[in-house]
Symmetry: C2
Subunit: 440 residues, 2 copies
């Protein structure tokens, strides 16, 4: 039924448009209807112009079949810290109200060329840097946060308002909303996708992130962004006989009952399907990874927000003023020690990760907390951001209040495609037997 | 004489405007006359609108004295890979002809707020990434290259068309033109200045660079960009009694007679002024630093230029196509090994550098070569770009054809202000006794 087209994954949409069963306009209309019906409840969008979306859809339909790109008509929600030449980019900051330079981020250039339909801009915390939530609500419970900082993209994909979303991650800004909204979230290896035209918080941490409701869609995006491992990913990965590790990490004390249960169930399910699962720990000398992340984050934020501080100090949050004024009194020596220690840890951790099909670790402490004022804790995500490893949030579990909970699968740097192949098979199990299913 | 104002350093201009001796319009007029007289010979500008410069100057003059910024009226030449909201940004690429998004780079936001007068955009090699020279000629010999990729900023400051210039460095793009044009060039510690709004080649290498004809001007800019060491720089550094090191590096075999002589003379002069100078070498296990730099450069370029490759492959240079297509067949493993090896080298080299007032090392193999087709070799610069250390090119020497040659002073990361303080005293000696003096 054409009114249900909004439910499709990107891969399914492509099949239908390729077969001539639907037009991009049909599809866009269905999505816009979904958005119209749900926007009051979810409020995922910082900017969306339905008439312009239809105009773009019409233009895509006019492209001869032979000239269509690999993402022809695939609708994409774009976090509002990524420049789009035809829509404002406002960073959820009063400093940038109505800011609209005619500039496409590198990622947007690639997506447009592939035929994607840019739907609109999604909400973010201020500069994707704070944990103060925007107006957006969790599609599975309007009294809970969708997470952040990629709040709107996570909620839009979770609420079937878009099949694909772009987020970013400096701490846990892609993976956390992935877990809270019950969707797949993919943080690729650092710098595997260009960050040109994406607001900077911390150069050595910021990563473009991707949302979808299927791993096949993430693989489609990985193709589009030319992300390739040294060795092609297995086409027939089997959970049976594979070896996984369970890693609680040094921040395990902050875990709640929902994630504790999810991690147990994940291990049980993998074992029930014939996999070996062993619990591992990271070397003790890496216990300070979260503190190193914090030191690098604040120090690089000191550089990144000087322009806004210089011109509009009273319009940026106290956290960012604190970065610029170095209120934590982080010395250059401490900054460099943290930067270098993380650097030394990367190959060490890669080596450990490389022994398994994937390492399973929490995405979040628990299900999405109540309230939309705060976007939740990034505690479990930030070490992977610092380590530059690819991470996939796989949904399938739920917390005490029936909210979705995902777990993270992690692989060594530039083993992104292998990680996606593994996540696909693991996801089939977790989605079917994990206990949570999408009801929106 | 007001017609000679173009000869002033930024620091001198500030003194005169503050004293009410000159207006910004007087100063701008003098610079525009200088540019008009010399532009045919040097061709440093990719974009310059004299009427708009005067309009800006007039607006600056209208600011009440009490509200003027620390760079009030200081004219700045901006490399055309840095976004300016009121001028095109074209990257010397046909893909971006007339590209003019209304966007200021982070560095430009800070400079404008400080009261700087943005003169115009200066020439660059394509995306600051190739060694194919733009139209620009060396102000000291029109048959020679001004170097690259910051060709126009280096030539403009060297030719007294601007007191200050912004460049960038990914290999040797700031320091090399500094040496070739006989000016001070400062590559700060990586990420000490925001790179927001500056075209990406390699995230872990790209650095904003600064040009001036005096170290006092570089200190003024370091103040503006809030670059501070842990320990305040000495206000009374004395060459007498200080300890310097001479470092020929693993690329010494590529050196020519001009730099050989310059380095010898530099050591002799320092010794004559009472300093201790010892020759040092880097540990042998760092001999491959240039190869690691090359692997990281190509691999990060693979990510950075995918947007242009996807949309306009036939309009970008073969070198960049090669990056995207990974024509050097650099595996992800080799890329990560290079990235990690450089990371491990940084604290090791910092430790060595920290033993001296500064380490003296070549900026370039020799004076600027003949022809403007190629911008010369970055061989001596690129290891410092990879190591993230601050570098100052100090002019004062000359080659066999009377062209300027500078030497590099290097310090540990985030010892930028100490390095500037040392460079100021060393520069006084080299400029006075090194043998070369500015004749343009």
């Amino acid at each position: 039924m054409s009114s249900d087209l909004y439910r499709l994954t990107a891969t399914e949409v492509l099949q239908k448009t390729k077969a001539g069963d639907i037009s991009v306009q049909d599809y866009a209309t269905s999505l816009l209807n979904r958005i119209a019906a749900r926007d009051d409840a979810v409020q995922a969008w910082a900017y969306l112009d339905p008439a312009y979306v239809l105009e773009q859809a019409k233009a895509l339909d006019a492209i001869p079949a032979a000239e269509r790109g690999p993402l022809h008509g695939v609708a994409i929600a774009v976090k509002d810290v990524i420049f789009t030449k035809d829509m404002p980019t406002q960073f959820n900051s009063p400093v940038y109200t109505n800011n609209a330079p005619k500039l496409d981020a590198g990622s947007i250039v690639i997506l447009r060329k592939a035929g994607a339909l840019i739907l609109g801009k999604t909400t973010t915390t201020e500069f994707a840097a704070t944990t103060v939530g925007p107006k957006t609500r969790n599609p599975h419970d309007p009294n809970r946060t969708p997470g952040g900082s990629s709040s709107g993209s996570g909620a839009a994909v979770g609420d079937l308002q878009a099949p694909i979303g772009l987020g970013t991650q400096t701490g846990g800004s892609t993976i956390r909303p992935g877990s809270y909204n019950g969707i797949y979230a993919f943080k690729p290896t650092w710098n595997a996708i260009t960050r040109e035209g994406q607001k900077i918080y911390a150069l050595i941490l910021d990563t473009l992130g991707l949302y979808a409701r299927s791993v096949a869609d993430l693989e489609l995006l990985a193709d589009t962004f030319a992300i390739f491992d040294d060795v092609p990913a297995p086409t027939n990965f089997a959970v049976k006989g594979a070896k996984f590790a369970l890693l609680k990490t040094m921040v395990w004390p902050s875990v709640g009952p929902g994630t504790t249960a999810a991690l147990d169930k994940a291990a049980d399910l993998l074992r029930a399907h014939g996999a070996e699962v062993e619990e591992i720990t990271l070397p003790e000398n890496l216990d300070e990874l979260p503190q190193w992340h914090a030191a690098v984050l604040a120090s690089e934020g000191r550089t990144a927000f000087l322009p806004e501080y210089a011109t509009a100090k009273d319009q940026i949050s106290a956290q960012l003023v604190g970065h610029v004024e170095n209120s934590d009194k982080i010395s250059r020596k401490a900054q460099l020690d943290a930067f270098d220690n993380i650097g030394a840890a990367r190959p060490v951790v890669d080596d450990i990760l490389g022994r398994y099909a994937a390492v399973i670790t929490p995405s979040v402490p628990d299900e999405a907390p109540e309230g939309i004022e705060k976007t939740g804790s990034a505690a479990f995500c930030l070490i992977w951001t610092a380590l530059h490893t690819p991470v996939v949030n796989v949904p399938g579990f739920q917390g005490d209040h029936g909210m979705p909970i995902g777990v993270s699968l992690v692989a060594p740097r530039y083993h992104d495609r292998r990680l996606l192949a593994v996540s696909k098979k693991v996801g089939e199990i977790f989605e079917k037997e994990g206990g949570w299913s999408r009801s929106v």
